[in-house]
């Protein structure tokens, strides 16, 4: 499929979906799914291709260029597939709410513009699609009104700031190189000085970092993710913030070549070290902040921030193995994080909007499929072997350890430890423990929610067992960037200092599982005891008091909470307060008396005249 036609299909399809919704709701839902299916098929048919297409030659005297290459292909495919799952998930979810046409339209528009971003071949079209994405995202975050408006505001303010910084970078690049097409910039950037490159990189890092939620720029993300409607949360967390990751890869590997990037600046003061440091902080702080959350979606949102840190580590490290790890982690994270948001969304849908972990529990009996999906997702998030997170995290750890970065490796491992803690909290509080009385009549998730969840769970497992599939595409893109590809096969990776073969691991684990199963089979049969069938000192205790999933990590929480204030958020609040105070101070001179205003003007004039009379300046 040609690139122009692909873009026309997705953008036209979104508009058509909106119009069709005025006629028939059912047809609209089907059309939305069909559009994304077509997009998925179209992107899939572009596999392995590297080509460019001119979309339009004379837009503001700049050419608009589209291009496809393996690296854009894997992003585009992920976007289309996760978008498709989210749209299928919306089928039942959104029906309870109003303005469904608008929701579908915006959802498709966001997905279309993201596809446009990854396919764009010059900065102008990149920027245009970027802005479409930002603003439609804002509308979707604010979809639920009330608190969501504030969350959306927070998002759009930061997003606009990032866009403006990016615009400055673009203009600077244009004046330096005379073109906005990526290839031309790469060609003309050879002569640029190291200081200029660092300046450009920092400008773009701010823009992409806001979208990717790197630590001091992440403040918009937790409220936005938790307030957005759940299908969109999964898109937001799964792929939208990864557009920032895409930008990082594009900039570091596609435009400023990676050899240049690694050798930039002085020993300590270079953007690479800065980025690595920020990546480490991004892993460490949000992981433990996530541990303190009681809101399921907010917990997942903080987890997203933390996982983005792994990708930043992988990308900024600058070896082909780390890039593989970072890109693979993007791919895996898109799968399991959107899966987890769908799980939470399904629970929220059935319990009428309950997201508070402390009031849920025991839903495994009511929603077994959702539980299974959630378990697989959480395993992927932690990086349990046989799920996809394992391979990407292994690659990142391996890079860090082999290249002698003990501190970063330690931080990454510590982050995983925290990930295990909060993942367990999530799965336990929702699905395990006692079932509250009020949820005894709960139904399982509807089919439209089960289908994408099952699909994504399967994907998590399949790509966990067969990591060679995505790694093959990543290798292609690394060849495209002029780097040495990893030695891979279908089951894993072979490096000089260590090998990972999922076949062996799978065999070992299966054997171990069989042994364990036999062991337990041979032991005593366990018996199931009623919750109230225990000794309570003769006093009957109501069942709801046995809610073991409240204040789960209380001791740990009280230990670490004082150190985990969201300092970035507080900093921005303080900044806003300071600006407001200064503004109020300045407003003092605007007294509302017209005479005073004229007095200021006359005063200024008089000073000018005085200067002229005294010094004869002009």
């Amino acid at each position: 499929m040609k690139l122009e036609i692909l873009l026309a299909v997705v953008f036209g399809g979104s508009l058509l979906t909106y119009l069709l919704g005025k006629i028939s709701k059912r047809a609209r839902d089907i059309l939305a799914i069909l559009v994304l299916l077509a997009a998925t098929a179209g992107i899939a048919s572009l596999y392995g291709r590297s080509s460019t297409a001119i979309l339009c030659t004379g837009f503001l005297d700049f050419p608009l260029v589209l291009r496809i290459h393996p690296f854009a292909w894997i992003f585009a495919l992920t976007i289309a597939v996760v978008g498709l799952c989210a749209v299928i998930f919306s089928w039942h979810y959104i029906r309870k709410k109003g303005r469904t046409d608008f929701f579908y339209f915006m959802m498709l528009l966001v997905i279309s513009s993201m596809i446009g971003i990854v396919l764009s071949g010059d900065f102008l079209s990149f920027y245009i699609f970027w802005e479409i994405m930002s603003w439609s995202t804002f509308l979707l975050i604010s979809y639920n009104r009330e608190e969501a408006i504030a969350a959306g505001m927070k998002y759009i303010v930061m997003s606009v700031a990032g866009s403006l910084v990016m615009l400055v970078g673009m203009i600077s690049l244009y004046t330096q190189t005379g073109t906005l097409v990526f290839e031309g910039i790469t060609r003309n950037l050879n002569s640029a000085s190291s200081g200029y490159l660092q300046f450009i990189l920092i400008l773009f890092f701010v823009a992409f970092g806001i979208k990717n939620a790197i630590w001091p720029l992440h403040v918009w993300l937790p409220p936005a993710h938790s307030e957005a409607p759940s299908p969109f949360s999964s898109v937001l967390s799964g792929i939208l913030i990864k557009i920032g990751t895409f930008g990082f890869i594009l900039l570091i590997y596609g435009i400023v070549q990676v050899q240049v990037f690694v050798n930039l600046g002085h020993a300590l003061f270079n953007v690479r070290n800065l980025l690595l440091l920020l990546g480490a902080v991004t892993i460490l702080l949000p992981t433990f902040i996530a541990l303190l959350q009681d809101d399921a979606k907010r917990l997942l949102a903080w987890s997203t921030v933390a996982q983005a840190g792994y990708m930043i580590l992988g990308i900024a490290y600058g070896t082909s193995e780390s890039l593989s790890g970072g890109t693979l982690h993007f791919f895996n994270h898109a799968l399991f994080k959107s899966l987890l948001f769908m799980v939470v969304g399904a629970v929220e849908f059935r319990t009428n909007g309950v997201r508070d972990l402390n009031s849920l529990g025991g839903l495994i009996k009511k929603m077994p499929v959702t539980f299974a999906a959630g378990l697989i997702g959480v395993c992927g998030l932690i990086g349990v072997p046989l799920t996809n997170g394992f391979v990407s995290k292994w690659l990142i750890y391996h890079t860090l350890i082999v290249n002698h970065s003990p501190f970063l490796a330690f931080v990454a491992l510590l982050g995983t430890w925290g990930t295990i803690l909060y993942s367990y909290k999530l799965i336990h509080h929702i699905f395990l423990g006692q079932l509250p009385r009020k949820y005894e009549q709960l139904n399982a998730a509807p089919v439209s929610m089960k289908v994408p969840m099952i699909f994504l769970s399967l994907a998590v497992v399949v790509f966990g067992v067969l990591p060679g599939l995505p790694l093959h595409v990543i290798n292609l893109s690394e060849i495209g960037f002029g780097m040495e590809p990893l030695a891979i096969n279908m089951w894993g990776v072979v490096t000089g200092s260590g090998t990972i073969q999922m076949l062996n691991i799978a065999t070992a684990l299966t054997l171990g599982g069989i042994v364990l199963w036999l062991f337990f089979r041979m032991g005593r049969k366990n018996t199931r005891a009623d919750q109230l069938d225990n000794y309570a000192a003769g006093a009957p205790v109501p069942a709801d008091r046995y809610q073991y999933s409240v204040k789960f990590y209380d001791p740990l929480t009280s230990m670490i909470a004082p150190y985990l204030k969201d300092t970035a958020d507080n900093f921005y609040s303080a900044l806003a307060r300071g600006i407001r105070n200064v503004g109020n101070g300045i407003r003092r001179i605007y007294t509302g008396d017209v005479g005073n205003y004229v007095m200021y003007i006359i005063l200024f004039l008089a000073i000018l005249i005085f200067i002229q009379l005294y010094w004869k300046v002009w």
Binding site: R587, T591, G592, I602
Partner: protein
């Protein structure tokens, strides 16, 4: 003295501007301030027209045959001032109605007494 006779119109125009500014600066009464604005406006119109004047010139109207085009005053400032006057009256009316509303609301036209006017 030569200067005075040479620049009579300029002096008149700038006197009006200075007097208008003085009223705006010093007077507390809102209606008086608006009167000051009107005088200020008039001064500016007078200055613009005076700039376009040509000594011994005639009005830029070919009302009768035999008029010398080279001796006509500049029509451009006149055209500018013409429209400015008409707009000025509309803006003035807007200011006056605002003053009336302020009086109806606060019961006074004294600018220093209207504390709430500070936004």
């Amino acid at each position: 003295m030569n200067f005075l006779s040479e620049y009579t119109y300029y002096i008149g125009a700038f006197s009006l501007i200075i007097i208008g500014l003085y009223i705006i600066l010093v007077k507390k009464n809102l209606m008086k301030v608006i009167i000051g604005f009107s005088i200020f406006d008039t001064g500016i119109y007078l200055f613009l027209i005076a700039v376009g004047y040509l000594r011994e010139g005639t009005a830029p109207v070919f009302s009768k045959p035999g008029l010398d085009a080279g001796k006509m005053v500049d029509p451009v400032p006149q055209a500018l001032v013409l429209t400015a006057i008409v707009i000025g009256v509309a803006v003035l009316a807007l200011a006056v109605i605002l003053a009336i509303k302020i009086y109806a609301h606060y019961g006074t036209l004294n600018l220093r007494k209207i504390k709430e006017q500070r936004w």
